[in-house]
């Protein structure tokens, strides 16, 4: 059987000496004549190097003898091989390699899960108790400045934190109604910020921030008090500090896994959101429970909280299914049911948190300063 003839450079993989060789290519094999010696490469084992920058020719190896290389400078021969040998650039992955990847893949996943879901939460909870309260308060002041910068939509001449004499008096009355019923390790600090968002935060160091949008959305003072009690729950449990530590620990891990690649930012943000959602689902449940207990001791109906959740659901819809993994708070339906179940008043009379006049003053804590403010965007 006759084939194509060409010449090339051969490296035997033993020494760096180049050998000039005559080469015969048939459909089944490559025959390399190195002096008087003949080397036979079966065609099914012949592979070519990929992504080469050379301007001409092709470099071949034989997968049985991985050290040898054959350089063929003739382009017509290179094209001939590319056309006639279908698997020229395809390399099989050995079973051993596949097993190794599986084993270590499992090991890597297990290791990451262990640290994310067991070690970091445990360590964070323990360490959080060692941080001095003054430090937490200082951290909190820092965080509050950040919240002001990001969320607060005040005009230049408007203060970011709202206060009016009547509004502040109503807020203080509400705080006084709740605080005797639990122990707060931090100096008391509650403030209302100018933002249309329906939201509230607990910040490290016992600070609680209510957004103006939440006050406007509330239909009874008990709803606001319920949110306040919920945030106090976070404060008492030191949640902001614990969660801060957890987030920092897991951010290190996620950065490690996803690396510094172009899409890493998005993947990192998503993964971290999921992590935090999971942490806080548990923390939110506990804060809800705390608010129910405080309400019971203060002689207030937690069913008012359920009303609030029901209205939130009607207005904004619940996040169910996949999205609920990303949402920071548990499903509203579940929270509504829990609030109803914890109600000790059961429709009986109770002393309201605020009179309707005081409640109106609280709702206008940001608007009574006689300045025109820009109304919501929703």
């Amino acid at each position: 059987m006759s084939g194509k003839y060409t010449s090339g450079k051969f490296f035997d993989g033993q020494t760096a000496t180049p050998h000039e060789v005559a080469v015969e290519i048939t459909p089944t094999q490559i025959r390399i004549a190195k002096g008087s010696e003949a080397i036979i490469w079966p065609m099914e084992n012949v592979k070519a190097l990929s992504d080469q920058a050379r301007r001409q020719g092709i470099v071949l190896e034989c997968i049985d003898s991985g050290e040898e290389r054959l350089v063929l400078p003739d382009d017509t021969i290179a094209d001939h091989l590319k056309e006639t040998v279908p698997a020229l650039f395809k390399r099989r992955v050995s079973g051993k390699m596949k097993r190794r990847v599986m084993i270590w893949g499992g090991g890597a996943v297990a290791s990451v899960c262990l640290i994310l879901f067991v070690i970091i939460p445990l360590l964070a909870n323990t360490l959080a108790t060692f941080i001095p309260v003054q430090r937490e308060v200082a951290m909190g002041n820092f965080t509050i400045k950040q919240i002001e910068n990001v969320f607060v939509s005040a005009k230049k001449d408007q203060p970011k934190t709202c206060t009016t004499p009547q509004g502040q008096a109503a807020l203080d009355k509400m705080i006084d109604r709740l605080t005797p019923h639990f122990e707060n390790p931090y100096p008391p600090s509650v403030r209302v910020m100018r933002s249309p968002l329906v939201n509230a935060f607990a910040v490290p160091g016992g600070h609680v921030v209510l957004f103006e949008g939440l006050l406007k959305d509330a239909e009874s003072p008990e709803e606001v008090a319920g949110v306040l009690a919920h945030e106090y729950g976070h404060v008492v449990n030191r949640d902001p500090t614990r969660l801060g530590l957890r987030t920092a620990g897991s951010a290190g891990i996620l950065g490690l896994v996803f690396g510094d690649f172009a899409g890493g930012f998005a993947a990192l943000a998503l993964a971290e959101a999921m992590m935090n959602a999971d942490y806080s689902q548990e923390a939110e449940m506990e804060a809800d429970q705390f608010s129910h207990e405080v309400f019971a001791r203060a002689g207030l109906p937690s069913s008012r909280l359920a009303d609030f959740f029901a209205r939130l659901e009607a207005e904004h819809g619940d996040v169910e299914g996949l999205l609920s993994y990303i949402a920071t708070h548990p499903e509203l339906k579940g929270r509504e049911a829990a609030a109803n179940a914890a109600d000790v008043i059961q429709g009986a009379d109770f002393e309201p948190v605020l009179t309707s006049l005081e409640f109106a003053a609280l709702k206008r804590i940001c608007t009574d300063d006689k300045r025109v403010i820009e109304e919501d965007e929703t």
Binding site: Q14, T15, A16, A53, R55, A138, G249, A262
Partner: protein
């Protein structure tokens, strides 16, 4: 075919083919959330290695993506616990030592400045191992390069020299550069031939001249400013400020020039086996010029891209009626899409253009100015034992301290 040894080194890589590889890599890396990065780097290395032709034969990069991925998995399995706990402790220290300053607000305390110290040994370790992996996967004429298993000793040398550099306020930095390169070289092989670094570290002070001139200008600038302030002489303060500004540029460019000078001086003092030596005539001004030119070019292109995209999305928004009740939602969605497109576009174009306009041209400058002396002696070099390096450069990947290419 001419098999006589010339010792010439050429570079045959071109912008077009590398651009295609880099673009495909960037897109695939995005789509796979970063997993493809191991295969991406393999392709780029294969191309650039094979473009280097020394004494008539091309280099070959024989690494593959899967082994890098495996190495990464191994590193993650080991490092996850260490890094997670480490990061958390650091944040704890940050919380505990946050200082409240009357004027500056909150300033990070001691905890944050300690951070790099704890991870530093690991970074040097990973860098040495990554280099050893790359050498073990580099072949020329079928013969492998290689490095000894000396990563922990390298960490020791690096930390000691870093310590000396820090306590002498950077005056011994050239010594550190020399000692580390000497260690790496003296533990490297081509086949069974050992590489040797000659010369002594004080020679690098000549290479650092511009850098130290910049440093001197900086100190002079600061002194002038202080004297001007104290004596109330505003011209002196102004001159100090100008000097300070100039000195910063001088230091940056002087630092780049030092890198090139040091590389050339040390290449000229390297020896492979008994007789093979090297001559590098790489021009400092050309390499530095290419860096600066590349940065400016990429900056301009990316700015144009951002400008055009902003105009496009701005035009899109203005096509909607502000009276429409859905206006806010629609324009918000357009803004979000616009931001994502812009963000990804900038990332992709910067990574691709850096490779083709900075990395490859500079590699070409280094390579084509290199000559191998007594190259015929290379023919006698025999194969070295394979280095079955299971973790590949996994530690460097995981710590993100891998080489640029």
């Amino acid at each position: 075919m001419n098999l006589a040894s010339s010792g010439q080194v050429e570079y045959s890589g071109e912008t077009g083919p590398l651009f295609k590889i880099a673009l495909a890599n960037a897109v695939l890396t995005l789509l796979t959330l970063g997993i493809y990065r191991f295969w991406a780097r393999t392709r780029e290395r294969k191309y650039m290695w094979s473009a280097i032709r020394a004494d008539g034969s091309h280099l070959e990069y024989s690494g593959n993506g899967l082994e890098k991925f495996l190495g990464f998995l191994i590193a993650v399995a080991f490092l996850a616990v260490y890094l997670g706990v480490f990061q958390l402790l650091l944040t704890f220290l940050g919380y505990s030592f946050f200082e409240e300053d009357a004027q500056l607000g909150l300033i990070p305390g001691l905890g944050f400045s300690l951070a790099p110290l704890i991870i530093l040994p690991l970074i040097f370790y990973a860098q040495y191992r990554a280099r050893r992996y790359v050498l073990s996967r580099t072949r020329w004429r079928g013969i492998r390069f290689g490095a000894e298993k000396a990563a922990w000793r390298y960490v020791g040398v690096a930390l000691w020299n870093l310590f000396l550099t820090v306590i002498t306020l950077g005056i011994l930095y050239p010594r550190m550069v020399f000692k580390l390169e000497e260690f790496r070289t003296n533990h490297s092989y081509y086949g069974d031939a050992k590489l040797h670094q000659g010369g002594r570290w004080p020679m690098l002070y000549k290479a650092a001249r511009q850098f130290f001139i910049g440093l001197g200008l900086l100190i002079l600038g600061i002194l002038l400013t202080i004297i001007g302030e104290v004596q109330g002489a505003s011209t002196l303060t102004g001159a100090g400020g100008v000097l300070f500004f100039v000195a910063n540029f001088w230091i940056i460019i002087g630092g780049m020039a030092f890198g090139v000078n040091a590389w050339r001086m040390m290449a000229n003092e390297k020896r492979l086996g008994e007789v093979v030596t090297f001559t590098s005539t790489v021009k400092t001004s050309e390499v530095v010029g290419r860096y600066i030119g590349g940065f400016i070019l990429i900056g301009v292109i990316v700015s144009i891209f951002v400008g055009v995209a902003a105009l496009l999305f701005g035009g899109l928004v203005s096509a909607f009626d502000p009276a429409d009740p859905d206006f806010g939602q629609t324009t918000g969605a357009i803004g979000l899409v616009g931001f994502i497109v812009l963000y990804l576009g900038v990332l992709i174009s910067v990574s691709v253009l850096t490779l083709v306009w900075i990395t490859q041209p500079i590699l070409e400058k280094y390579v084509t100015t290199l000559t191998i002396n007594n190259a015929q002696a290379l023919n006698d070099i025999s194969q070295r034992e394979g280095d079955d390096f299971v973790e590949a450069e996994g530690f460097a990947d995981a710590l993100d301290v891998g080489a640029a290419i």
